[in-house]
């Protein structure tokens, strides 16, 4: 879509920024798209949509619960609402509203969170959601999508809009480099093999996909061929591909900018344990809150670098 619409995304871009562009593009083609925000439209980039479609944009003020309920009402009456705010406020703060008014009702509400994980950065722990994937994943009827880069976000927004049902779209604040080959299509629920390898499988999501590719290159220099799987849809999880690749490689590492409990690592562990137990090492935040700091410093301190993934890979191999 990005190419078709003449929008050229730079090599480095935040996924939230791509979201704003994609939403505006979607708004031009589909008049049932409506957008809601809770006083963060500059940060979530929904302001782009608001500027062009003021009648289809609703600022609910700092009232996230009300925003989710309003989105549910719009969806119940034929609209496709995208509701945006920071990840902490888009999930935990309004958990019961999402549970009862969106997930249970299977309403066509898209919750798009712009600031998630440690890379929220300087705002610190109160704003760094490390549990949102877990919270959303456990809800029946909910789809959970975490794009790996800006271009993938652009495609994901389109796919999410075309899909009928509740979706949690996890986006990020910092600019990140391209991770997925630009020509690669996006399909909800279909993980992407970004690199083949027989020794080890690296399963990553979001900003960790690019880092997993770096880790694979590092391991390659040491003679270890790691496959890299971009698990952009955490629910429904592409179990078939995951199991096939785990069987082929025999050792698995997961990498996510999220708690190692309940997120990608949790989901992968569940599937492997039941279907093909293999050594598994989870890279992610180890059951702790974050803190203030630059995104890169935080990722280093909490063990979310390419080096950490490579080290986890070797650890998994030792357990083989």
């Amino acid at each position: 879509m990005a190419e078709k619409t003449g929008i050229i995304l730079p090599a480095e871009m935040a996924t939230r920024e791509a979201y704003g562009l994609a939403l505006r593009e979607l708004g031009r083609r589909r008049d049932k798209i409506v957008v809601l925000d809770a006083d963060l439209s500059q940060s979530t980039h929904t302001a782009l949509f608001a500027a062009e479609f003021p009648l289809r944009f609703f600022n609910l003020g700092i009232a996230e619960a009300d925003m989710i309920g309003t989105a549910a009402g719009l969806a119940a009456n034929g609209y496709v609402p995208f509701a945006s705010t920071f990840g902490v406020f888009a999930t935990g703060r309004v958990y019961d509203q999402i549970r009862n008014s969106v997930a249970y009702t299977r309403l066509n509400v898209k919750i798009a969170a712009s600031h998630t994980g440690l890379t929220v950065g300087e705002d610190g722990a109160s704003h760094q959601t490390l549990e949102d994937i877990a919270l959303m994943r456990v809800l029946p009827n909910m789809t959970v999508v975490v794009p790996a880069d800006a271009r993938q976000t652009f495609l994901a927004v389109e796919a999410v809009a075309n899909y009928e049902g509740p979706v949690y779209l996890r986006l990020g604040r910092p600019k990140i480099p391209r991770a997925v080959p630009p020509e690669m299509p996006f399909e909800l629920g279909k993980a992407q093999v970004l690199r083949e390898g027989s020794a080890l499988l690296l399963v990553a999501t979001g900003i960790m996909v690019g880092r997993a590719l770096q880790a694979a290159a590092m391991l390659d220099r040491e003679g270890l061929q790691a496959a890299v799987l971009n698990m952009h849809t955490i629910k429904p999880l592409d179990e078939d591909l995951l199991i096939a690749m785990a069987r082929k490689t025999g050792a698995v590492v997961t990498a996510e900018e999220h708690s190692i409990i309940g997120g990608l690592g949790g989901a992968v562990a569940e599937v492997l344990a039941e279907n093909c137990p293999r050594p598994l090492v989870r890279v992610g935040v180890k059951d702790t809150f974050g803190e203030s700091g630059s995104p890169e410093a935080l990722l280093q301190k909490y063990g979310l670098t390419a080096e950490d993934i490579a080290a986890a890979g070797k650890k998994a191999l030792r357990k083989k």
Binding site: G61, A65, G69, A75, D96
Partner: protein, 276 residues
Amino acid sequence: MPAISAAANEELRLKAKKLRQDVLTMVHQAGSGHPGGALSVLDILVILYYKVMRVDPHNYRDPQRDRLVLSKGHACPALYAVLADKGFFPARHLKTLRRLGSPLQGHPDMHKTPGVEMSTGSLGQGLSVANGMALAARLDKSPRRVYAIMGDGEIQEGQIWEAAMTAAHYCLDNLTAFLDYNGLQIDGWTRDVKTLEPIVEKWRAFGWHTLEVDGHDYASLLEAIRRAQVNKGAPTMIIAHTVKGKGVSFMENQINWHGRAPDAAEYARALKELKN
């Protein structure tokens, strides 16, 4: 001139008597449920479904229908009785209330029960949803109207006041909300648990066209609804003074009838009263 003729009023009164019996029969047979709040809200539902709302039981998904969100979802036996009587689904379903596999869940489920517009049960969420529906109607340039009903205890939820601000900010004059002001919640009188007063002033201060009526008087209810329909630029809140357990002497204003089913003897007594 009253908004409703004496004959029409009598017809509604008889209808409500029958529906109150249905409510008690359902809850009695289910062995659990919330009779108090169902009986207090019943006359509001009667006026809406028999005199006001444009809904077609045989085409209940018509996009241009009016919408009702029963935000105080625990009162659903009253809604189910009305929907069955209107023909949204066969009356025989009523006796399956709360049973495994029933289309009539313990709290409303929009996918299981024809005519239910929104799944509710977790209090405090329905007004936001009604706002969304009212915004959708406006975007569609449709004359359809949206109704929402809240309990008085329910509006202790903060989200109600978020939604109250939203409806006023967006000038949702196609939205009419009711407060089923029966004075009781689970742990006691609302004035003792956490007072709502001054309630009329609160809604006015939040920017709502606010009316106060006897919630069991059809003429007053209808007149208020008509005034809401012609009011421009603001949503209307109809504060309906009601009696919890209305219609059954030993249930009226009794806190213990919030959430328990009548046993056989109580059920017989109640029915006898309602048949008189």
